[in-house]
Amino acid sequence: MRKTWVAVMATACLALSACGSGDGGSTAVKDTVADKGLPIVGETVKYDPNTLVNDGEPINLEWWMWDGDETFGQFAEAYEEIHPNVDIQIVNQPWDDYWTKLPLQLQSDDGPALYNVHNSHHENLITYMEPYDIPVDELAADYAGVEAHVIDGKVYYIDFGMMTGLIFYNTAMWEAAGLTDADIPETWDEFRDVAKKLTIRDGNSFTQAGFNFNSQFKEFSLGLPYQQGQHLMAADQATPDLDNQAMLDTINLFTGFYDVDQVGSKDFGPVAADSFGQGQTAMIYNWGHFGGTLGTNFPEIEYGTFRTPVPEAGVEPYAHDRYNGESTLGINAKASDAQKAVAQDFLRFYLTNADLMKDLSLHYSVFPMYQPLADDPDVLAHPVLSALGDITKYVWPGPIPATFETSIDTMWQDILYNGVAPETALATAQKTVETDLSSTDFVGVENLYAGYSSK
């Protein structure tokens, strides 16, 4: 009996020790050489590697993320090479868990010193974030879009890249339809004609949809009203403004593709992105990240991209579309002073490393906000980024709460599948978003758009 108890206790101890964090695996060693003989890098924000961080004493930092540990890990490895006394341990959490675990962990005294941020979770994270120890004007000189992230003269995260919507097309289907690069449409009318040519029917059913937007509703609906100068928020930046003519026009434009032009169907390929990947659909609207999805999940699909069409040929719209930023890392306000000091140093390294920042941007198919990379040949040749054109013609509405997206999705499903009139569905969406926003502190930043004009 005693042997059994001993065995049970030993097993429990082993299991518990396996769960413990500890720093038994730390690679940090004392650093005594401040002058590494390395150049100071950066444009306006500079990084000087020839210093001792944490006085050269070993220190560990955890860096939480939900994805891309290899890409982000390159920053950590490069930094550890310069500062061998620092060990940055990357912890990858699945997206769905990340946004509940991270805020709760940051509330405790045991949260990660560094963590990746997505601005859609701004409201749950901002309380626990340490401001960047870099003058805002210096950051703004090097990175686009910084002003939208300034809170009481400080920034807690900025964007390393911008992502927006565009049209993806299947190049094999494009060629089979006798289309060439000269046929890439500029306007929605031209787009309609191209979509018709790409549509293949067998009697009443589709063999190939020319254009499919099923289950991609929020992506275009929250962006295309900008083409007509319509914002998502009223001038006070606190009241949602979805129930308007521009949104209705967008709904009618897209329902017209199915009902009038018959280039696709609500019942053919219920998820447009999957249908495109499975080779059933010739064109879809999606955001830049879809390039990565295609590479990972549907590598056999060859695709091209072009900028989202506009209402009138030769007339520059108010804006082309909505964009969202991929955020830089956050620093835990509750980390120890030593960890925060190293985290701030690492942040400078991260923001000034042009090569790794380029890799990161290309990996996520986002246009780099780091100004020295704006004209980089690799960026301009990227299959997704090359289609965007002038990136100043995109609007960021701010970290919009999830209710915008969920309500728009529900609205579209009601219109397409439940036979609800667009006006009624739109009014319902407006009401739902109004109700949900009333319990948040969200304030939009559309008024920071360079060409902003309030309706």
């Binding site: 749950n124 059913s205 019942d267 390929g269 219920p270 529900t410 499903q413 439940n418």
Partner: protein, 315 residues
């Protein structure tokens, strides 16, 4: 040494009524082992169930987001908002339809198949028991993803095999029935096994007496078997009510409450409010209404089936 008395089987129903056992010797260490097990379970339930429920109850009167520390008193606002929320009423109606249909089919199918397997004419009983129970032990998430593929309008097995042209999960006429069908398939085996257990515990003499008296198969089933299975049926119905009012995974995987809100059920609404919109106070209010609804329905089922009589006063 005293021998513990075996529990007696009741003549009606086959449910085991635990008879009061006479005093018997308490083995060394038994009392402390018993106490530590019971105390452990009670402590765990208090920590993981009672306290969180209490916190959620308090939270239901607040604008509450534990992720950023928001906790502002609202009084009954969440409950009054809920009563005027069309999404809540749609979800309640969907939950009711889902529960009634799935429980009915689960009980009917479970009982029919159990009776068939129990029959003396049926061979390969173990094979059938295993076959019927297999979906029950398969993870629901995995089953739901497979059925999602099967329901695909272009490449799905259902349309391909039966020659249908239906967009199952995106047509509001078919989406909820499609989820219900998957759920019945997944869960009927549980009812089969329980009903089989009930059938095997039926008193042979009552069945033989019915045969001697010339009762037909249908009479034997309706007048003898069914009444004796009432306790088991009540158990299946009550546990089904509890689990189906909380059904979530199948909706999450198959439709996410769509198209529109046509498959939104209460637990999915709770999830959406809490973990998508971070409106934990409102989600808690909805969850409490669900809790009350579950308790009421359980009580009604119990009363209607004469639960106290069936399970004794302690029930």
């Amino acid at each position: 040494m005293l021998t513990p008395k075996r529990p007696e089987m009741t003549a009606h129903g086959g449910a085991a009524l635990i008879a009061r056992t006479p005093a018997r010797r308490v083995y060394k260490g038994e009392r402390s082992l018993r106490m530590s097990v019971v105390v452990g379970i009670v402590v765990l339930n208090v920590l993981l169930l009672v306290i969180p429920i209490g916190i959620a109850f308090v939270g239901s009167f607040h604008q509450w987001n534990p992720l950023n520390g928001t906790f502002n008193y609202l009084g009954l606002d969440n409950y009054t908002q809920l009563l005027g929320d069309a999404r809540f009423w749609t979800a309640t109606a969907n939950t009711g339809i889902f529960g009634v249909v799935v429980i009915t089919l689960r009980v009917a199918l479970g009982l029919a198949l159990a009776y068939a397997v129990w029959s003396k004419m049926t061979r390969f009983k173990t094979f059938f028991r295993t076959l019927f129970y297999m979906p029950t032990v398969t993870p629901l998430v995995a089953v739901a993803y497979v059925w999602k593929l099967m329901y695909h309008p272009q490449v799905g097995a259902i349309n391909s095999i039966f020659g249908f042209d239906v967009n199952w999960l995106f047509d509001s006429q078919f989406a909820l029935p499609a989820i219900m069908l998957m759920t019945v398939w997944k869960d009927f085996g549980y009812a089969v096994i329980l009903f089989l257990a009930g059938l095997y515990s039926l008193p042979e003499d009552a069945l033989e007496a019915a045969g001697v008296d010339g009762a037909s198969a249908w009479q034997r089933f309706r007048l003898i078997v069914l009444p004796l299975l009432r306790p088991m049926m009540l158990f299946v119905v009550v546990t089904s009510i509890i689990s189906y009012l909380q059904a979530f995974v199948q909706v999450m995987v198959l439709t996410k409450g769509g198209p529109g809100t046509s498959t939104s059920i209460i637990s999915y609404l709770v999830y959406e409010e809490a973990f998508v919109k971070y409106n934990f106070g409102y989600a808690s209010a909805i969850a409490f209404v669900l809790l009350i609804l579950t308790a009421l329905l359980t009580l009604v089922s119990f009363k209607m089936s004469g639960g106290r009589k069936l399970f004794g006063k302690g029930a």
